[in-house]
Amino acid sequence: MFDSGSTMHPFFALFFQAPKQLVSLGAVDIVVVALYFLMVLGIGYYLKNFTKTGEDFFMAGRDMTSWIAGLSFVAANLGALELMGWAGSAYQYGILAAHWYWIGAIPAMLFLAIVMMPFYYISRTHSVPGYLKLRFGEPARLLSAVSFGFMTVLMSGINMFSMAKVMQIVLGWDLNFSIWVSSLTVAGYVFFGGLLSAIFNEVLQFFLIWLGALVVTILGLYETGGWSGVVHRIHERFPGQDYTHMWKGLGSFSDNPMGIHWTGIVMGLGFVISFGYWTTDFLVVQRVLAAKDLRSAKMAPIIGAAFKMAVPLIVILPGLLGLAVLPDKLVAESAQALNPGAHTYNDVLPLMLARYCGPGLLGLGITALIAGFMSGMAGNVSAFATVWTYDIYRAVIKKDADDHHYVNVGKLCTVLGVLVSIGTAYFVMQFSSIMDYVQQLFSFFIAPLFGTVILGMLWKRATPAGGFWGLLAGTLSSIGMWAWVNQVPSALKYIAVSAQAKPMAENMYRALWSWIICVVVTVAVSMMTEPKPEEDLVGLVYGATAIPSEGDLLWFQKPIFWAALVAIGLVIVNIIFR
C-alpha cells in the first residue's frame, strides 16, 4: 500500500494529503476507483447520441423496464451519507435504525406503486409539480416547484460537502479535490445523457454499492458466528442496553436510546415522512415516471421496495457488527473533542471496511461510497433540471419555445445546478451548523406536499384554492414549529408530545402536525370554494378516472401479487426482530 508520505505526482498526492486518515489505498484500489470514474463518464458520453428530444433528456424516453426503473428508484436514495449515516445510527441506536428501511419505506413504496402510480402515469406529467398544475393550477405548481428546486440544490451542496468531509477523514483526500472531481463527473454524465444517463449509472452504482458493502456483512457474520453470535457479543459488551429489538422498547419515550414512542414511528415516520418522501419527492418519483408502460411503472417501486427491505444487510448490520467486534468504542461527533483520537459513530462503516478488506476489496468498498454519493447527486441534479425547465422556466419565463430550446435549457441547468451546489458546499464549509437545519427542513416541505397530492388524487371535492392554501399553510407551519422549538426549547413538549423527546422524535411529530394542518386547511378551503368540473378531473383523481388495464396477465405477473409478497416479507422481518 502507498503511504501518506510517499513521493509521487502532485495529482496523486491529493489522495493522500491529510496527516490522519482511517485507511490508505493501494495501487489496485486506485485502479478500481479510477475505472469506475471512466465507466460512468463513458456511459454518459455514449448515451448522448440517444438523448435528442426533451422526452429523452428529461424522461429517459419513457422506455425504461421495471427492473431498470426500480433499481434506479432505490439507488437514487442510497447516497453515501445514507450508507455511512445509517450504519452510524445502527451503532448508536441499534436495530431501531432499521425502522427507516422497513416501516419507514416499504408501505409507502407499495402505496405509490398500487394507488398513486396510475394517476402520475396516466396524467403523463413530467414532474410532481406538473401534476399539481394539472390538478390544482399554476399557483400550487409554482409554490411546490420553487421550494423543491431551491431545497434540492441546497441539499445537493450539503451532501457534496459532507461527502468530501468523509473522504478527507477516511482517505485523507483534499476537500477541494473531492468536491470538484466528483461533482464535475456527475455534471458531465448528466449533461451528456440527461435522465437516461443518470438512470443507467444509478443501476451500475446500485450493483457497486451492494458488491462493495456486502463483504463487510459476510465477514462480520463469519467472525461472530452468525446473528445469534452478534446478539450475544453485543449483550456481553453492552450489558443492560437493548440494541437488538425493534419494537420492545417503544412503549415509552425513556425506554429506548432514540427517545421515541411507537406512535412517532408508526404515524410520524411510517405514515407522514415516509409517504411524503417516497410518493411525492420528485427525486425518486422521476425514476418511475420514466417507465415504459403502466405495469412497469407499478412494478418499479415494488422491485425497489424488495431491495430496500434488504438494504439493512449492508447498512444496519455492519453498524451492529461494529458494536459486536470493534475493539474501541465509538463516540458521538459532539463528544469527540473530549475524546481526542476516538472515532465517531459515522466512522463505523469505513472502520469495518478497513478491518476486513485487503487490496482491491478496499477500493471496491470506497467505490461503493463514491457511487452512493454520485447516485444521490445525479438524482438531485436531474430532478432539478426537469423541475426548473418544465415547471419554472417554461411556465413563467418562456412558454412557447421549441423542444430543442428546452433541452438546451435543461443541459444548462444541469451545469448551473452543479455549480450552485458547489457554491453551497463552500458556504456550508464556513457555516457548518446550517447543514443540520436545512436537512431537517427539507423533509418537512415533503410532509405537507404529501397532504396536498394525496387529497388531490383521492378526493374529487378538493379545489385549486384548497390545494394551494393547504400546501402553503402546511409548509409555513412546519417552518414555524421548527423556529419555535429552536427559539424556545420548552416548546418541545407541545410539538413532540413529551419533553423527553429527542431530535429524531421531534422531527416525526413536526412532520405529522404539518401534514394535519395541510389537510385541515385544504379541506376547509375546498368546502368554501368552487370545485373543478368532473370532466376536468379525468386522469387525475380516483373516482373520475378509468384505470387502464395492465393487459392480459397471469396472477403471478400482476403487480398486486408482488406487492402482497413484499408486504408479507415486511411483516415477517418485523416479527423476527420485534
Partner: protein, 68 residues
C-alpha cells in the same frame, strides 16, 4: 438485446465487474504470499469475491454482448 439500438446497461455492468473481478482476484492471489494486515485474512475473501465478480461480470457480458 438492444433497447432502441442502445447497448443495454447490463453489458456495461458486466464489463466493469469483469475488470474488477480480474483485479480483485489477482490481488487476492498475490495476497497468498503477501498477507494484508486485515482480520480474517486467512479466509482469502479477495479470491472468493474476485472470482464471484468475474463470474457475474462474464455472465452479463456474454448475455448482453452487443453483437449477439
Amino acid at each position: 438485446m438492444h433497447d432502441h439500438g442502445r447497448i443495454p446497461i447490463w453489458f456495461f455492468i458486466g464489463v466493469l465487474l469483469t475488470a474488477y473481478g480480474v483485479l480483485i482476484l489477482g490481488a487476492g492471489i498475490y495476497g497468498l504470499w503477501h498477507p494484508a494486515p486485515v482480520v480474517l485474512d486467512e479466509v482469502h475473501i479477495g479470491i472468493w469475491w474476485g472470482a464471484l465478480l468475474l463470474v457475474i461480470g462474464l455472465g452479463y457480458v456474454w448475455r448482453f454482448y452487443p453483437k449477439k
